[in-house]
Symmetry: C2
Subunit: 365 residues, 2 copies
């Protein structure tokens, strides 16, 4: 019997995963991680109100395909209209839809070299032509991204602010200038997954008057619900409505919808989380300085740590930490791959990191 | 500023939803439904073990992108290898991936006229050319589907067994013959969302030796977890592996993964659900006979009811029931649209249906 007739594009794609999951590494090692600090998860977890709301949901019922209640609350929260918001299966899911809307065979798409691999996965998955610019120092480079977009006539530009994997950020003025300079016919996807951790004023004002900018937000990070898969995008109404052409309308978990709504309503808990994360980042900074490394300034819930050697050293260090039960990750490309990346953890997590780091350094020296 | 450059395909698509959700109808009516019997949800809900497992999950952590534990358990349950299983965001999500893998501009795809709208949504969404054959009586017509697939050189064929929206089914011999006759180069998608409700022996034996048949299963129906969004597909390993090219690897809700695993492990609870559903279907049959209608035989968790008049009558009846707080749906196309469709409910739900039905009939007479 003949093989299925995959589309030429799909036939050409590799079977791949943007990130190897920590569970995969645990199975390979035959042991659970003692501290899970590699995926920028927020180990402080969600508001107890969110936990309660999730537990009380009738999970036998499909979720509301309109995400009506959550969109209403988000609209109030952000002072935009519900028509300016689409809720989806995490930013990952929304990025997939956005790419599908704008990218086909050889469509030029611009991002930074070493930026979010899942975005690149989606671009490749719809046949786009990824064009990259390097980081400037340890920062994404808005001017270079815009210039590249202009040069290649890109339909889509991606930037994360604050940035992952470096944790660095630009202030609102720089980002507003980038928005203002988006070339005609391009869409700028501004991934603000970590923006709640950033200094007040980092996010430029929301402007939903033109369809050339879309902002991505999530309940995975500051709200502590990565496993629930709730992201949302804010944009001009016609761009938001276009998601209805392609999205999996009944794709949202009903408990996740209710949990996100409750989490959004508990801003006091969010404030406490931000304090916890700030304290954890300070402690991570102390720990790594004691070991001769340098923490980069971070506007996220992780600290990117300059190990002051090359990528091979950082890779060895990550492996040595993983072998000691500490799950961490690191940037993929040079020269950022001189760093490792550690998520803000609880005291118990950071105790383990503090104990393991000197052992790991010694083991690879 | 110029409009975003949507792909020509996306620009041509309508903003649509395959089904209007019951919450949308509730908002329009300004009142909650008293009985939710329209979406073939399993109101008996999940195993308490599944509920407990979902509540105990650390929702701050991303789900395992490999769905390893669930795939292992499903492999044992179905006596296939884990490599023969892909887990996704409900059958809806998996259908989207499958269509994306096989369908591009004008690819012929065969289904029954009036079959699952979400499949059609995905086919349209990837530019496929949908070719339909009519139901034969109230049954999907495997011979006609195969003949049409041969005539149009289809890459993908869809059939649900048991069928939705009619609740009818074919035995394993007929389905095996259909599988055996799949034309070279086509893939048969056999949607078995309701198969746990069907007589033992309805499902043909699982054969994962060729990549031209894929079976879709779900935790949304018999396992009572529609809101969790967990579906899976069983197929030959190369076809399963192709999903890794396009799927949202981190798209699964972590609690849903754990809940599905626990639900699968509680087959006693499933057996009790099947008894509850059988009793509810018998009662629905009695109720509608008392009102002069005829229930069709059903191998699902719903009863499709022949109202013995035309589509206009059935549509009016559905509206009259909805106005009385009873959420039901009906087939979309003639002559099946002479019917309405009622999901198996609890005693309290069916009490309400029993009271409302004669009132609704009287109101439209």
């Amino acid at each position: 019997m003949k093989s299925p007739r995959y589309t030429p594009l799909v036939a050409s794609l590799p079977s791949t995963v943007p990130f190897v999951g920590p569970e995969t590494q645990e199975r390979a090692q035959g042991a659970k991680f003692a501290a899970r600090l590699g995926a920028n998860e927020n180990v402080f977890g969600p508001s107890p109100k969110a936990t309660k709301a999730m537990a009380e949901v009738d999970i036998w019922a499909y979720g509301d395909p309109e995400n009506y209640d959550l969109k209403q609350a988000l609209a109030v929260h952000h002072d935009v209209a519900p028509e300016n918001i689409v809720v989806g299966e995490g930013i990952d899911g929304l990025l997939g839809y956005l790419v599908r809307m704008l990218v086909e065979h050889d469509t030029p798409v611009v991002t930074s070299k070493g930026a979010y691999p899942t975005f690149n996965f989606h671009v490749a998955g719809f046949g786009g032509a990824l064009k990259t610019v390097p980081f400037k120092g340890d920062f994404e480079d808005p001017d270079a991204l815009i210039a590249k977009a202009r040069a290649v006539d890109a339909s889509l530009i991606y930037i994360a602010n604050p940035d992952n994997p470096m944790g660095t950020w630009h202030g609102a003025e720089i980002m507003q200038k980038m928005i203002d300079n988006v070339p005609n016919g391009a869409v700028l996807c501004l991934d603000e997954a970590y923006v709640e951790f950033a200094p007040v004023g980092t996010a430029p004002a929301l402007d939903v008057s033109t369809p050339n900018i879309i902002r991505m937000r999530t309940f995975s990070k500051a709200y502590g619900m990565a496993g629930a898969r709730v992201g949302y995008a804010i944009a001009e109404a016609s761009l938001i409505d276009a998601f209805n052409k392609v999205r999996n309308h009944f794709g949202m978990n009903r408990a996740a919808q209710a949990g996100a709504l409750a989490a959004l309503g508990d801003q006091n808990y969010l404030a406490q989380t931000l304090k916890n994360v700030t304290a954890a980042k300070a402690r991570i900074g102390d720990i790594v300085r004691w070991n001769g490394f340098e923490p980069l300034p971070s506007a996220t819930n992780f600290v990117t740590i300059d190990c002051k050697r090359d990528g091979d050293y950082a890779r060895a260090l990550v492996s040595a930490l993983i072998a000691r039960g500490i799950f961490v990750r690191m940037p993929f490309v040079a020269p950022q791959d001189r760093c490792i990346r550690v998520s803000a953890g609880r005291e118990v997590d950071l105790d383990l990191f503090e104990a393991a780091l000197p052992q790991a350094i010694k083991a690879i020296s």
